[in-house]
């Protein structure tokens, strides 16, 4: 506790970096997964290769992916971009299937009703399909957000500073306090992300609040 109070600034700045490293891939991953998930849903032939392909990427352990990133990106090993891109890959892998499942969860009669009302294909997607898929997508996004926060800390082994640095520093000095503070800070950050997504989902799905079970 004393250690924490004495290092508030340090923990705060590491936490801010950590939050950026975990959230940027979340947004990038979501933006990429929406068109890919749509493709997987729209064209049955593409579904299996997309989901199996991203699934295989997902199996690659994070430390290995961080280390291999410079070969793909031409970055240095210490570049935080490696972490952002690697986590974007994981997020996309997780969300392609979620988005595709989410779009599949939209009832067919709703789509027909929308089309019958004369809505175009594109605006039907953005005004009807995507909003109705939000609850399912949001569930996947929560999983991705929470695991991203945890995975970012692994990058400390490569010397990329964020909350995980508290683990490596503490371990090197045989000192438990920073490690425990780091763990708690990670969990707190994951919780904040989770609550934020839940809140945004509520705002985005007003129809779920009027009591009709969906």
């Amino acid at each position: 506790m004393n250690w924490f109070l004495g290092h508030l600034d340090e923990v705060g700045s590491l936490m801010a970096t950590h939050a950026v490293l975990a959230s940027a891939p979340l947004l990038a991953g979501l933006l990429l997964a929406i068109p890919l998930g749509w493709l997987a849903r729209r064209y049955r032939v593409l579904r299996t290769p997309l989901i199996v392909g991203t699934g295989l990427l997902y199996t690659i352990p994070s430390l290995a992916l961080f280390i291999l990133m410079p070969l793909v990106l031409g970055t240095g090993i210490l570049d935080p971009l490696n972490v952002v891109v690697a986590l974007t890959v994981y997020t996309v892998a997780l969300l392609v299937r979620t988005v595709s499942d989410g779009l599949a969860s939209v009832p067919e009669d709703v789509l027909q009703a929308a089309s019958a009302m004369g809505i175009g294909r594109v605006s039907r997607f953005f005004k009807v399909e995507l909003p109705l898929a939000v609850p399912v997508i949001s569930a996947g996004l929560r999983v991705a957000a929470v695991s991203n926060v945890s995975i970012v800390s692994v990058a400390a082994l490569l010397g990329i500073a964020q909350l995980g640095s508290l683990f490596t520093d503490g371990f090197a000095r045989n000192y438990l306090d920073p490690i425990v503070v780091g763990i708690l800070a990670c969990i707190a950050l994951a919780l904040v992300f989770d609550l934020l997504i839940v809140a945004l989902t509520k705002v985005a799905t007003p129809w779920l609040r009027v009591g009709s079970p969906a």
């Binding site: 997902y58 430390l63 280390i67 945890s150 082994l157 989770d194």
Partner: protein, 242 residues
């Protein structure tokens, strides 16, 4: 890229007590031991929870909660706290295996639980109506029907373990992670990248082996026509990575 191929092409890096083959065997044995222990705990517990319906909320919270705990921190805490109580190599390996088991249990538990929970109540009642006892219902009906999800839980756990065993190299245990950690320490990017590539290949192979075994073991009556069922059940056992 060249550094990577040079390292891989050097036969000295493959043989001996610090060569790739030895490290691979270490990695696989840690993973196997962990998975067996975790399965011995997780599967019976998951089956019991799924069968009786008790403690389901605990499972869901446990699985979600564990996801937010940073693996690396947990590993270091275990080594610093438990390590001094043990002597020699076990001081690192013991806590590392302990953490691996802790991380592997939730997905296995969730898979077994979700599998049994998802069994059609009509099927279960039918089995009872035919005069089966509770144990028979479990072993002859619920477990076979739950197998796909039990396997997907094991598969997630296996990937999690292979990945975390890599990170465990940072607390002085063996396994393929040694190349990643030692390469970093010696500023040898070739060794790091080669180790990373090997770890990635290992993870993909493990995943494919589990997928293949799953196909062989699961009753064809469950696997073939009902693809939609598998997808729908899947969010229960979301894959984890580390």
């Amino acid at each position: 890229m060249n550094l990577l191929w040079e390292w891989l092409a050097d036969p000295n890096n493959w043989s001996g007590p610090e060569g790739v083959w030895t490290r691979l065997v270490e990695h696989l044995s840690y993973s196997l031991v962990t998975l067996v222990i975790a399965a011995l705990v997780g599967i019976p517990l998951g089956l019991w929870i799924g069968h009786t319906g008790r403690g389901r909320l605990t499972v869901v919270n446990l699985v979600n909660g564990m996801r937010s705990v940073p693996t690396l921190g947990l590993l270091f805490v275990a080594v610093l706290v438990v390590g001094p109580l043990l002597a020699g190599d076990v001081a690192f390996l013991g806590p590392a295996i302990f953490v691996l088991v802790i991380l592997a249990i939730p997905p296995i538990l969730a898979g077994a639980y979700a599998g049994v929970e998802g069994v059609d109540p009509g099927v279960r009642d039918g089995a009872r109506g035919m005069g089966m006892g509770e144990l028979q219902v479990l072993t002859k009906v619920e477990i076979p029907v739950a197998l796909p999800l039990i396997f997907s839980g094991l598969r997630s756990a296996a990937l999690q373990v292979v990945a975390t065993a890599t990170i465990a190299a940072s607390v002085s245990v063996g396994g393929l992670g040694r190349f990643l950690i030692d390469g970093q320490a010696y500023r040898d990017y070739g060794e790091m990248a080669a180790g990373a590539l090997l770890v990635a290949l290992l993870a993909v192979c493990v995943d494919l082996v589990f997928a293949a075994v799953q196909r062989l073991v699961v009753s064809p009556g469950l696997a073939a026509p009902n693809d939609s069922l598998r997808w729908r059940a899947a969010p229960q056992s979301v894959p984890t990575t580390t």
